[in-house]
């Protein structure tokens, strides 16, 4: 099998899975982090498609600015509980002092 195609197959699988996980996950913060990862993987996809200009735009905007924008908005959303962001119900290991 063509090694390039194999690489592409791995990349596409990861891409689709990350997108699905970002949109389906319960935890909104986890969704945002997965969306940042999605931008990174997609940028590599543009490179493989032979579109380095698009990869540059995606890297600059998708990985950096969109992530910062989403995180800043998430932090400002009212009505979050006093818990640390992103804690899972099942794994509450507080490594930080309680307020």
């Amino acid at each position: 099998m063509n090694p390039g195609l194999l690489f592409d197959a791995v990349l596409v699988t990861v891409l689709l899975w990350v997108a699905w996980a970002a949109l389906a996950s319960r935890d909104l913060f986890r969704g945002i982090v997965l969306f940042i990862a999605f931008g990174l993987v997609l940028s590599m996809g543009w490179v493989r498609l032979g579109a380095p200009d698009v990869a540059l735009a995606e890297a600059a905007i998708g990985a950096g600015i969109a992530g910062a924008l989403l995180l800043a908005t998430w932090a400002r959303l009212p009505g979050k509980t006093e818990e640390r962001p992103g804690d899972d119900l099942e794994g509450q290991e507080r490594d930080h002092e309680q307020r």
Binding site: R26, D53, A60, G64, I65, A68, L69, A72, R76
Partner: protein, 228 residues
């Protein structure tokens, strides 16, 4: 997502089924078009043939600023409209005062000067290889975002007036250049031969600064207010 934990308002089975059906139909249509459809020759050849006259040797830049300049002109208008929309929603939220950590300040002092350097490099590279105004503008905006996030007092509320002028400068310069070439029987955005390279560079530089300011303005999340 197990059905047992589904809250009462969760969309019903019918909605899910109809949605799945519609999506599958759409996917089947596109798949059919992709697999069975004829592959059109595309525009690579046409772009390559016209490239020597365009003023840029990177085909993507040539398409963006010359062959499909309308797209980019209107895109600048959309960006300006978006920032007007965000600013019209209200003043920028006041950031709670926090003393920026020395680690952050040290990192900023390394990263922020690097951004204009890489921005200029991408702008310069854009005419001959991957790069260009949007990418350069986004890198410059990242420096602005870092500056805003680090939350030092003067940076939180950027002076509104110079920022507004900078934001409309990209659209303004692009429009001015597009109209300025019209005398002499040329159409809108039809750059004269020989001057095309210089005009594209002018438009790109203005667009880069504008895009950086627009993205930073969007990040602020509201109308910037000068110090009370």
């Amino acid at each position: 997502m197990s059905s047992a934990s589904r809250p009462p308002g969760e969309p019903g089975l019918l909605l899910r089924a109809v949605l799945a059906l519609l999506l599958l139909a759409a996917a089947a249509g596109v798949a059919l078009a992709l697999v069975a459809g004829q592959v059109a020759p595309g525009l690579s050849g046409a772009v390559a043939a016209a490239l020597p006259d365009s003023g840029a040797s990177n085909p993507v830049t040539a398409v963006l600023l010359n062959f499909r300049g309308y797209d980019t002109l209107l895109e600048m208008a959309v960006l300006t409209a978006a920032v007007v929309g965000v600013w019209s929603l209200g003043p920028a939220p006041r950031i709670r005062e926090t003393e920026p950590s020395p680690v952050l300040l040290g990192m900023n002092s390394v990263l922020i000067p690097l951004a204009p350097l890489i921005c200029a490099y991408l702008l310069w590279a854009g005419s001959s290889r991957p790069g260009g105004a949007f990418q350069a503008g986004a890198v410059l905006a990242a420096a602005g975002v870092l500056f805003i996030i680090s939350g030092r007092r003067p940076a939180v509320h950027l002076p509104a007036a110079p920022m507004s002028w900078g934001i409309v400068a990209g659209l303004g310069v692009f429009l001015a250049v597009a109209l300025a070439v019209m005398p002499g029987g040329r159409e809108l955005l039809e750059y004269p031969r020989g001057l095309a390279g210089a005009l594209i560079l002018l438009v790109e530089t203005a667009a880069t600064v504008s895009i950086a300011l627009i993205l930073a303005g969007l990040f602020i999340g509201g109308r910037p207010e000068d110090e009370p």
